[in-house]
């Protein structure tokens, strides 16, 4: 074999070796998720019973449960969604459909990109000063929801913009040609066609919010909550109350953090059990997002 042949063989060999390395790296990440999941489930399985879901935290690990934590997570996420979806989608629509190319939109764009990279704990500091003390919302569900809402706003905005950007210009022109106004075009064409991408972004954002711990610790989400928020429906006039917005709360990840930080083995089992529940919640949300993206991509062809 001469030297030229050897060079070609080496090049091919490296090429194949890289293909295998690449595949292994991808499979390794799948492996890590599997190890993570089985480690949690194996540690936590003995604790995952119905009493675990319907008990309050306790000083005795075997009696402690996640009732206040999962209820808190669900309510905080609802507040987060109500806050971030309208503002995020509106911003995305404005920037794509109305915003002219000038220095103001440039600044908004740099700004959103930077906000997406700001560490989540910094949002916690913002809320601690602004919502907890200045606006006097206290360490409440409202503060928690707004904090997470600000945190996922860049995700919702970016998803909205990217989804709108894939709609061909001809769709808009067809609508204008029929005499539709700008808003009518957006309302009846742009929004319906971009719903899939927007929904995917919203769900990914919410799944991130459900797992967030640091900003909620900063604003003072408590770790020992042995009560549920007050009911929004009251027996007496005016029957609807927003008092629950100002109740103290805890959420799943904060509860998990509390249990991990304790020295007793029993609490680590609780942490593993609660983590498996949280992991299933986030993976489910992500699965739904992937499915929606897939469905809408198949349905719309330009």
């Amino acid at each position: 074999m001469n030297r030229e042949d050897l060079k070609i063989y080496t090049a091919r060999y490296i090429d194949h070796a890289f293909a295998i390395t690449g595949l292994l790296c991808c499979l390794a990440s799948l492996g890590i998720i599997a190890v993570l999941f089985f480690d949690l489930v194996l540690d936590g399985l003995p604790r995952i019973t119905s009493t675990f879901f319907f008990s309050f935290p306790s000083r005795i690990p075997e009696k402690a449960g996640i009732l206040s934590a999962w209820v808190g997570s669900v309510i905080v996420i609802v507040v987060t969604a109500l806050f971030s979806i309208p503002i995020g989608v509106a911003t995305g629509i404005y920037l794509e459909e109305y915003g002219k190319k000038n220095w103001i939109t440039d600044i908004i764009e740099i700004n959103i990109s930077n906000l997406a990279g700001v560490p989540s704990i910094i949002y916690g500091l913002l809320s601690l000063s602004l919502f907890v003390y200045l606006l006097k919302f206290g360490e409440s569900i409202l503060t928690g929801g707004l904090t997470l809402g600000l945190l996922i706003l860049p995700i919702v905005i970016t998803a909205t913009r990217e989804s709108i950007r894939t709609i061909p210009q001809s769709i808009r022109e067809a609508s204008y040609a029929l005499g539709a106004t700008k808003w009518q075009t957006i309302r009846w064409h742009i929004i319906p066609y971009s719903t899939g991408g927007i929904l995917t972004g919203i769900i990914i954002g919410l799944s991130r919010a459900i797992g967030e711990t640091a900003p909620l610790i900063t604003i003072g989400a408590l770790t020992f909550i042995a009560f549920l928020p007050s009911s929004p429906i009251q027996p007496s006039f005016p029957f609807i109350s927003f008092g629950w917005l100002f109740d103290a709360f805890t959420v799943m990840p904060v509860q998990i953090f509390n249990w991990i930080s304790r020295p007793q083995k029993g609490f680590h089992i609780n942490a593993a059990a609660a983590s498996s529940v949280l992991l299933v919640m986030t993976l489910l949300l992500n699965g739904i997002a992937i499915y929606i993206r897939y469905r809408f991509r198949r349905r719309i062809r330009w």
Binding site: C26, G117, I157, P253, F257
Partner: protein, 294 residues
């Protein structure tokens, strides 16, 4: 007709107000960080802050040097980067140049799951799975250390690096790759000599974003790195990062307006500007590619 026009104007104004909220958030962050840390910087000279080698703001004998926390943050970030950059880049090249499209459709969402796992769960994994595992190889590693959370953070940011890099590799014009193949280059040679140089700004941008993520990551280090300010480069020792200091103080329920309260915001200022530099650089690199392709 007039009513329709008025409605159009009102809607446009409403949408503009919504987009202003993002500017307000940034302004709010900067204002709050400076306003609340003001008492801290009034008490401490800036020179002491950046040269003193100890951080003990909660003790009677207060030493207020930020170095140990910055060192802790840089150490864990460095470990994470050593894991995430090579793996992220290999994955990106594999997905963009090697993987058949059907396999890619399956692999990409799975990789993204790595970024979706809650950080507190990664913290559990680092403290109660990886650290004991590492201890069986290195017996002198401490129960809280910089290595284990660093590795776990590295795993966590792989998808950020791989998906952004892959996007920019995909944007490399097909003609360039075909020219390389026509000269007899293998896929690997094409990737290294054509695709990566052509996609360089996007790839570099993804590295910067990954580094910024690692610096700002909180729960993994708060759980597994210990809560001890420690000016060291030894990954086997416990360290405290900027972020985990904020967590430590927040857990103690510090009263509003005290000196301890202002230390949290002073640390926040440092963290914010450290990540800001990387975020902004990353943004301009990315913007460069987008306009280059057009």
């Amino acid at each position: 007709m007039e009513a329709t026009k008025a409605k159009e104007k009102i809607i446009e104004a409403g949408l503009l107000i919504a987009s202003a909220s993002s500017i307000l958030t940034t302004a709010g962050i900067i204002f709050v960080l400076f306003y609340e840390s003001f008492p801290f910087f009034k008490h401490t000279s800036f020179f002491e802050f950046i040269t003193e080698k100890q951080w003990t703001p909660l003790f009677a004998d207060r030493r207020l040097g930020i170095l140990p926390l910055v060192a802790g943050t840089l150490l864990t970030t460095l470990i994470a980067t050593i894991i995430a950059i090579p793996v992220g880049l290999i994955v990106a090249i594999y997905l963009s140049e090697y993987a058949p499209s059907r396999l890619k459709e399956i692999l990409k969402p799975i990789l993204e799951l790595l970024a979706a796992v809650p950080t507190v769960v990664y913290g559990y994994f680092a403290l109660l799975f990886l650290t004991p595992l590492l201890q069986s190889f290195f017996p002198d590693i401490s129960g809280f250390n910089a290595l284990s959370p660093g590795i776990v953070m590295g795993i966590m940011i792989i998808p950020y690096i791989s998906s952004l890099s892959e996007d920019s590799m995909k944007a490399v014009p097909m003609a360039l790759k075909e020219a390389s193949y026509a000269l007899g280059a293998t896929r690997f040679q094409t990737s290294i000599r054509v695709v990566i140089p052509a996609a360089f700004s996007g790839v570099a941008s993804s590295f910067l974003l990954g580094i910024s993520r690692a610096m700002g990551e909180t729960m993994v280090v708060a759980i597994a790195a210990g809560m001890m300010p420690n000016l060291t480069a030894n990954p086997f020792e416990p360290v405290q990062t900027l972020t985990s200091y904020i967590v430590q103080v927040s857990l103690g329920d510090v009263p509003h307006g005290t000196f301890e309260y202002s230390t949290v915001f002073a640390v926040g200022v440092v963290l914010f500007f450290m990540t800001l530099i990387f975020n902004i650089l990353s943004f301009f690199l990315r913007k460069g590619i987008r306009e280059g392709v057009r």
